[in-house]
Amino acid sequence: MKLKDVLSPLRVWERAAKKPMTIKDPINDRPGATNYRGFHKNDFSKCIGCGTCEEICQNAAIDLVPVEGQETVEGDSGLRPMIDYGRCCWCALCVDVCPTGALTMSNDYTWIADNPEDYRFVPGADKTKWQESEKGYTRSPDIQIIDYDRVDMQELEPEERDKSFIEIVKGYNKEQAIKEAERCLECGLCIATCPAHMDIPGYIAAIRDDDIDNALRILYETNPMPEICGRICTHKCETACALHNNGDPLAIRWLKRYIVDQVPADKYSEILGTDHLEDEVLNRKVAIIGAGPAGLSAAYYLAIMGYKTKVYEALPGPGGMARYGIPEYRLPYDQIDKDINYIRSLGVEIQFNTRVGTDITLEELHSSYDAVFAGTGLHLGRSTRVPGADNKRVYFATDLLREVTLGNEIDVAKNIVVIGGGNVAMDITRTLARLQNQKYGKVQILTTCLETEDIMPADVEEIVEAREEKAVIDPGWGPKEIEIRDGKVYGLHVVKCLSVFDENGRFSPKFDEDQKKFFKADMVVESIGQGMDLSYLSEGIKSDLKFSPRGRIEVDDSFQSSLQWLFVGGDIIQGPDVIHGIANGYIAAKGIDTYLNAE
């Protein structure tokens, strides 16, 4: 033992004179750090009740509960997370995973209670002293727990596609599809938004597990036209996608397309278990007017329920608007045929070139069939009714698109103006651009519409692609007059459109007459909406049917009209889009089944 060792501890006596480390009032002097993972906060204006927090919580601490004042609407389940502080471990994975950024944490950390039942609360709904706290943990923008970036879809380059009608979108391959499917949070918010209420998380999970057969089965539960939907569906589901709040929504449409593209047509009946359907045919017959999505959807479900169905179609091909209203580069005809041939293989008979009302009357159908479903669609164009709109070089988009599909020659002008801002307007713009390219080798087409670009109803990608194909899009103008010189179209006068809708959301455009513009053109195409053609209804039937004030046929929940044997669905009731048509057909088929069995 050295003396030094005995003395050296004495050297720290100087510490006695130092300021102690002790904190005087720890509870109040030490708030949690700015970044501290304290108690939870929830911003109800952002929360959509998707339940991803519940899904990731490894302690099963989170329940989703209904909260007063939170309505269930499309894209918001109305449920809110309730957190059990008898489970929570403050790992903040729920905060990091929250796709909307609603769930955060405060820097508060003291909660004392005598009763253990108290430790359960709904952040945001229950009054807590930390709900308004500004500090606390939030998700760092530099990290991702869920994948906000969509797998890019391969498309043809503008140079490759602007002359031909080859399909633009190439579709996912297996690797890409699985990667995209893995992004799904499985919250299921999209199901309520989809008009057909398809089990979207179900088939996406099947893709993830690489079980295409099961995925196809899930698709056909409510949608017999997945090839069509997988290409041209308006994909409202993607706007409801939880990922949409902070990044790219899941490519639900492309994934659906991936499923059906994987299955060869001859495997369908085996996978779906419809190869022995003929044995069970009932002795009841249903007539369907119109081989469009609504009619064929009804026909499909009636057929698998065992009814004999026959479809009457005025045009020479099946598909309705899907074939005659949508250009081939978006929806190739062989894909339409793939869906429809499968439906026909179930015993659905389609009689083409037969217009009900002229070739056969509705009364005749009524007398020879037990029920009739009419899905006749919107095939008439609507006019702007501006001066000069009655010129023969002013066309309706629907007519032109039909002519293109029928293979008829169109007299494409060198300089064209399209009026309209919806997807149909983009379709006709891009179709005519291709025809111009084929005929003249250059594109000179301009599209204008009332809406400014941010509220244009067309899909953003459609607008972008149209521009890539060298079409000019100049939105925000109201058509004033089509100038006619010597009986020929000379151009379109437009004025600035200030607003399209009034305060109540009704269509009532306001113009600034001083801001004018003139688009020179020798051909004008109007694409501002479509009208229905109800000429097949005879006067007797019309007088028996009930119509809504806006001229639509009134139907009940199962699309049964006031004439019990007549069911009506599709674009003439809801929409217009393909998925509403399919959903209507499906519900109507079940309605017909109920109606016929109730007799």
């Binding site: 050295k2 050296s8 720290v12 970044n35 501290y36 899904e55 990091d96 530099d142 991702q144 727990i145």
Partner: protein, 399 residues
Amino acid sequence: MSNLSKSKYRGFEADRSKYPVEEEGKPVIDLESHKFTKIWQGPQHPGVTGNMAVELIINGDEIVDAKAHMGYLHRSFEKLMERRRYIQCFPIVCRICVPEPDTNEYCVSAAMEDLAGITVPEKAMWLRTLNLEMSRVGSFLMWIGGQAGSLGMGAISQWTVGMRDYWLDLFEEMTGGRVYHMYMIPGGVRKNLPDGFKDRARRLIVKTRRLMQDIDNTFLSNAIIKSRLQGLGVISPEMVDEYGIVGPNARASGREYDIRMNNPYVCYDNLDIKMITATEGDAYARAQVRYRELNQSLDLVAQILDRIPEEGAIQAEMPNLLHWKIPQGQTYVKAESTRGEHGFYMVSDGSEKPRRVFARGASYTHAISVLEKLAVNVSVSDLAGLMVSLHTCPPEIER
């Protein structure tokens, strides 16, 4: 070298005639003879490290047989992880070792990354290194307090645990958590450094160095401490392999094994770091090794602070971690905690959940096999000091 040869037990020879020796060197103890007393040290006892127990058979003051009892903290993390998704595993593993949770986080994240073939961005690597090294500082500080406290020197734990609290403040700023940081998410880390963090950390290093001087004066150079620790619990170099001893315990016996140098992980190969060893192998040598390592850790933290890149990603490109599937395979990832080799063995069967995760706690053998061997012939009053000097951590043993 026998336990007794060099120790303060000089002059004291156990009377072996009282208990005939069996062939394997273990005494035959007949409790009925009333020559021996059986006592329990723990689990409710101030002289055990954490929640564990040692069943002692003593003759007078001398321990003649010891049996360690574990399982008071068994929560079965491994079973729980088998029913959790990969991403859900990372928040629970830090609970495996309370004073130094980050090593667990690092190992489990790194094991997943190794199996899934993910490369972590450089900045995230540096932040992980910083986090790991800071947690070593915290754990060492707590250990010094424990070692001094176990010898009845309460003042030092007042200083070091208080100092550790300042380090926890830094953790709180950096990660959002005080004790459990849950910082190293698979693929990277969760947060960037807050503003002004580096300056505060540098100031704290200076402050800690000053404290280290005091600790040297009062603890390592203290005649009482020296006389109590020297010769206590001697681990011979042969024992190191035999008993799988790792970390400072092995290094104090001359074994040059420090994973930061032998198998460099994160950014340790870019740092100026030296192997610290001693030869005596007793509790005092272990204390010295730990003291020097703590100094070196402070030095490393300073180095890391200088070298963290300002810019860069903190997380690799990751898939949706909710449905993260890791390809089939198995791996073993290890890191140097303050107690030695801390490793995770992970087996994946290609599904969303791990097939098997095993956490090799660094003190797995220290607290049982080694303690049971070293405790024999030690005085009861020194057992607490011996246990702390092995730096055992029960929760990482039984998990």
